[in-house]
């Protein structure tokens, strides 16, 4: 028998947190789940030494201790049926039913292939940040931060705070584009403050424009990288490379539920109305999965979704804040547009699918993801194409293919739960 909640929220970043707070304020009974062990999402991930950022900690503590809140950490959605979700946590499979569902599944990093990207020591930029906050050893290690976007500053600050020697930040966008972006920041005072705070913590760390990491080299782990920039090609010795090309919406669950999508560049995002409703009855979406907009945008949209899903009235001021926050996303995309050079870094023998070790040359005879998958196993591994499928879409090779259950690798016992009830209660949505 599935436990029923008025509102189920998937994702514990700013969007999910704001939704939870708003729904609880309307007296809703809320279940809130996240794949991670602690709430906060990526941007407010709890640091094992420094805790949560202050603002986040206050709200998280309050929301988690609310009597109407059921918090489900380390829990993932495996499949969905009519108003029900099949979940899996560390120990068991369970089903929960919802009156309304709020998707706040956030974003992942855009990770693109280049020679050497599979070496131990190469991580995402936000990836290194996440690892460091959970105790990844960086003390005294030489770290290079690269890729694109404002996230690189945050990654550098976290690495430095955990004792890394940050050798430099290498941004692919050119100086003109980055400066044009910086000049617009005054329109979003919160962002400007954030940027100023990050900059002051990065004194002494060189920032290079128009620079692209073309290769990572090492025997058993990363030893050095090659960077192509305004001063030509240079080699830099380092133990860690944190490289991310921006963010991509996590739409897999929304996709499986049948939510309508729009495209943001090569990547799908969930279509919503002004109340954050998707086209599926009782399903809302808030934050990054509706298009990359950042922390403040996710927060406002989470609030709107939480209020709307629990039957409250959304004030005009909140809607105005949402529109303003979304404009930031447009500026971000425009100024940090990727140099096409980055799409051509992978060589014929560069692995594209890291789960099944499929090189680029094995994919050249296919024009869509499914036939390539059947013939080469590209995208068939544990990550289910989250890394290679996204990269191939960005590179313009294949568009992203759809999502079928299970959404994540599941235990047989979990799938047994799914099969037995769908046989008797209806079809898989």
């Amino acid at each position: 028998m599935a436990e029923r909640y008025d509102i189920v929220i998937v994702g514990a970043g700013p969007g999910g947190l704001a939704a939870a707070q708003a729904a609880l304020a309307q007296n809703a009974r809320v279940a809130w789940l996240d794949a991670q062990a602690t709430a906060g999402g990526q941007v407010w991930r709890k640091d094992f030494q420094h805790g949560w950022p202050q603002r986040a900690e206050r709200v998280i503590t309050k929301v988690l201790s609310h009597p109407n809140m059921t918090w489900m950490p380390q829990t993932q959605v495996i499949a969905a049926e009519q108003n029900e979700l099949l979940l899996q946590n560390e120990r068991q499979a369970l089903r929960i039913a919802y009156g309304a569902l709020i998707l706040a599944t956030g974003a992942r990093e855009l990770l693109l292939p280049f020679p050497g990207w599979t070496l131990p020591g190469v991580t995402g930029a936000g990836g290194l940040q996440a690892l460091a906050k959970q105790g990844w050893p960086l003390d005294g290690r030489r770290v290079v931060i690269a890729g694109s976007g404002p996230l690189l500053f945050a990654a550098a600050v976290t690495a430095k705070r955990h004792g890394a020697r940050v050798l430099g930040i290498y941004e692919q966008a050119n100086q003109t584009a980055v400066h044009a972006f910086a000049r617009k920041l005054w329109r979003w005072p919160g962002k400007a403050l954030q940027a100023a705070a990050l900059r002051s913590q990065l004194a002494g760390i060189p920032y290079h424009y128009g620079s692209i990491v073309t290769r990572a080299l090492g025997e058993r782990a990363l030893e050095c990288i090659e960077v192509d920039g305004p001063r030509g090609m240079q080699r830099i010795e380092c133990e860690q490379l944190a490289i991310g090309y921006g963010l991509v919406p996590n739409v897999e669950l929304a996709h499986m539920l049948g939510c309508a999508m729009t495209q943001e560049g090569a990547h799908p995002c969930v279509q919503v109305d002004a109340s954050q409703r998707t086209n599926i009855a009782n399903v809302y979406a808030a934050g990054e999965l509706c298009g990359i907009g950042g922390r403040d945008c996710a927060w406002v949209e989470g609030r709107i979704a939480g209020i709307a899903a629990s039957g409250g009235t959304i004030g005009a001021a909140l809607l105005q804040q949402q529109r303003h926050a979304r404009k930031f996303a447009i500026a971000l995309r425009k100024h940090f547009k990727l140099d096409p050079y980055i799409h051509d870094l992978a060589e014929p023998d560069t692995l594209i699918c890291r789960c099944e070790d499929v090189p680029l040359q094995a994919l050249k005879d296919y024009d869509e993801a499914r036939s390539a998958k059947l013939a080469t196993r590209c995208g068939m591994g544990a990550c289910q194409g989250r890394v290679c499928g996204t990269a191939l879409a960005e590179l313009g090779l294949f568009p992203r293919s759809g999502q079928r259950p299970p959404l994540f690798p599941a235990r047989l016992a979990t799938l047994g739960e799914f099969a037995s009830s769908s046989d008797t209660e209806g079809s898989i949505s």
Partner: protein, 80 residues
Amino acid sequence: MTQVRIDINGQVLDVPAGISVAAAIARFRPSMRRSVSGQMRAPFCGMGICFECRVRIDGVAQQRACMTPVREGMQVITDG
């Protein structure tokens, strides 16, 4: 800082409480798994997407080390 005692590939180690299994392993070895063609791999995305940090934890295979906090008495086995 409070320490917890865990076992990685038969070696008993004391690590700070609250860190991830991935971080605990990284203090002692650079890789966590061997890919299908035999390459050494380590965490890449850091947030549970890429599955490069899969290890065996307390007898359960294919656990993402980056998403699992260390626990007293935990047994971890890597294959890379």
